[in-house]
Amino acid sequence: MIRKRLGRTGLPYLLLLPALALELLIHLVPMVVGIVMSAKQLTQFFIRDWSAAPWAGLGNYRVAVDFSAPIGRSLLNSFWVTCAFTVLSVGLSWLIGTAAAIFMQDAFKGRGLLRAAFLLPYALPVYAAVITWSFMFQRDTGLVNHLLHDQLHLTSGRPFWLIGDNSFTALVTVSVWKSWPFAFLTLTAGLQNIPRELYEAAAMDGAGVWQQIRRITLPSLRPVNLVLVLVLFLWTFNDFNTPYVLFGKSAPQAADLISIHIYQSSFVTWNFGSGSAMSVLLLLFLLLVTAGYLFATSRRKGADD
């Protein structure tokens, strides 16, 4: 009996140990160091010997949030761009993923093949996929303008996609293309848990297809959506690869995502103190949003936990 009790209390911790140790090593400890860095004037003069770097206290933070000065203002601009980008990208990815999952719920000819095709963007290496998009978005030789301007005559001139204001549209397009298959996959899975009887009962009550979707499908997907939206949000907000491959080290203002902005403030200019401070601010924001999100959603979910 005693052995069993000991095993009962000790075992779960033992099982968690590898995961905990690794997260500690790879994420939490470097993170704490990152926070320390944010309080230092860690420029290229001190990168070789951090202990010699003077303490900046909250100086790096003050510069980052001084929205009347250009550094703070451009950070704020970048923050809003990232928010708009994230909302649009997550929203569209979710919408397309949901629509596709629902439309492909019933068997029809070629469904398997279609599903395979829809998963392709998820399986291509990110760099390859995004570089192909940048190739397509070239103004003079790209497919997009070839289609819009030369074939369909929708635009009067050839618009730019990789510079200027349209770059935001380009960025959202690529991001949605890249992440909707994941939403599709997760939701397809979620749909399989909805008992068929529910639909049958609704059909007997005279509910049409659209009503069935609204009354049965969407509410049943809620638990999946909770996870999915949060994960998509975090990935999209922190996405570095897409803008970096699409625009390089200096993104156009309209598409200046915060991850690129921080990269520029730390890796390009070797000012890690300031870059870290911006990262910590970003982390705080994400923690706040996630906590709020979990709090808002757990009230209804609480029963089964």
Binding site: Q44, I47, D49, S51, G164, P252
Partner: protein, 438 residues
């Protein structure tokens, strides 16, 4: 429970200590390298040839030659440009890096400020054959003025004006333009039937800043004042940038599409005849590989304002690659021997010939291989009218901020927004205010 918590806290603290300990990693041997492993060297080469594999094929035989001469085995890694600065950063921060490495010469002062590179004082220079063997302009691009250079020049390049001889003849233009007024006039003559007078790489931040620098010199600004403070929005700087942006905005001699070029499309445009002029560094080999007949193009110096002399007649930045010794090297003597080998006359001829660059070593420049009209023109530029980019610790910020400002202005011009002194000044002021205070 308590034990668990204690164990967790201990583990956390131990890992933290490990990391923090590492932060000082670079300082442990700040006195300079030693000779504890005299038989091997690690060399990080930048990508100079047509591909990473091509670079390896070029360099491996030379490294074997060095091994035969000295018995030192050199381990080569060709680092792509996209990774090079990050890799150097990681090496600097940790003290674990190569023994000898290539750096873009514009990074010299920035990297010099980190203290990670071995300074080449006179004694060190003596070990590799002396400072006088190098072209002065190239030495000036190896570190801040008044300090011992942080590197030595390896391959040099300069900007020249490449022009399409056939297109010039067809438009009835006898000589390449020598002044900007002539360039604009010629460009307008050449701009017709979907072809343009000039191609520029407007989406490429580095190209933008290189041109902004040379034009700035011509307008009378060095971008930093005597005390090293940034002066990006001086009337001279505004004039320089506006002149460049006006190629698209006002003169309309460059295609609006050039504003997004960042993958050497301007070289392609020139090679395929879509544009009749191109301002580029050592483009010859590249142009022929794009199918352009070597007889169809020629090189002239970049134009200057009429009657300009001295710094106002600057036509190019000093472009090129420097060779640096990592201070933490475990084979200091070997590293210097290797530097001496790479900057020796034979290797200089051999490697610069292969890469189509100009040897910064004067004696090697005399080789007939560098007497082609293209290289002759460019080495004249290098010797007489090229100046190094500002050798300040914050050079990379300057490059990023000003280059991006020019990119934004070009994007605006291409979209048809008006470009005035005020819009240019506003953009440059914004760039300047983002420079760090120190």
């Amino acid at each position: 429970m308590r034990i668990n918590r204690l164990a967790a806290a201990t583990a956390f603290a131990a890992t933290l200590a490990l990391t923090v300990g590492a932060c000082g990693g670079g300082s442990s041997s700040s006195g300079g390298g030693d000779n504890s492993s005299p038989k091997t060297l690690t060399y990080w080469a930048s990508n100079q040839g047509t591909s990473l594999e091509n670079d390896k094929q070029v360099l491996e035989p030379e490294l074997r030659k060095f091994e035969q001469q000295t018995g030192i085995k050199v381990k080569l890694e060709v680092v792509p440009w996209s990774d090079l600065l990050n890799r150097i950063l990681a090496a600097t921060a940790s003290g674990q890096g190569p023994d000898v490495l290539n750096i873009g010469n514009t990074w010299s002062a920035s990297l010099q400020a980190t203290g990670a590179l071995l300074p080449f004082d006179d004694a060190t220079f003596a070990k590799i054959g002396g400072k006088d063997r190098f072209l002065p302009a190239t030495i000036a691009s190896a570190g801040a003025a008044g300090k011992d250079p942080a590197a030595v020049p390896l391959y040099s390049m300069a900007y020249g004006l490449y022009y399409n001889k056939k297109a010039f003849a067809a438009a009835g233009i006898a000589n390449p333009p020598a002044t900007w007024d002539e360039l604009v006039a010629d460009g307008q003559k050449l701009t017709k039937d979907g072809k343009y007078g000039l191609a520029i790489e407007g989406g490429n931040v580095s190209e933008n800043v290189h041109h902004a620098f040379a034009l700035g010199q011509q307008h009378g600004t060095g971008w930093f004042d005597a005390a090293g403070r940034p002066a990006f929005d001086s009337p001279e700087a505004v004039g320089a940038v506006k002149q460049y942006v006006d190629f698209i905005a006002k003169d309309k001699i460059a295609a609006p599409g050039n504003a997004e070029y960042a993958n050497n499309q301007s070289v392609t445009d020139f090679a395929t005849g879509k544009a009749a002029m191109l301002m580029w560094q050592s483009a010859g080999a590249n142009l022929t590989s794009h199918g352009m007949n070597p007889d169809d193009f020629a090189v002239a110096p970049i134009p200057v304002p009429a009657g300009a002399t001295g710094t106002k007649a600057t036509t190019s930045m000093v472009a090129g690659i420097n060779l640096a010794v990592f201070r933490n090297t475990k084979n200091l003597d070997g590293a210097l021997q290797f530097v001496k080998f790479m900057t020796g006359d034979d290797e200089q001829k051999q490697l610069n010939k292969t890469y189509g660059s100009i040897p910064p070593v004067k004696a090697a420049q005399a080789d007939p291989a560098f007497a082609t009209p293209e290289l002759k023109a460019l080495s004249d530029v290098l010797a007489t009218s090229a100046r190094p980019l500002p050798q300040v610790a914050n050079e990379s910020q300057f490059e990023t901020l000003v280059g991006t400002a020019v990119k934004n202005l070009l994007a605006g011009a291409a979209a048809g927004k008006p470009v005035t002194d005020d819009t240019v000044k506003a953009e440059l002021t914004k760039a300047q205010q983002q420079m760090p205070a120190n």
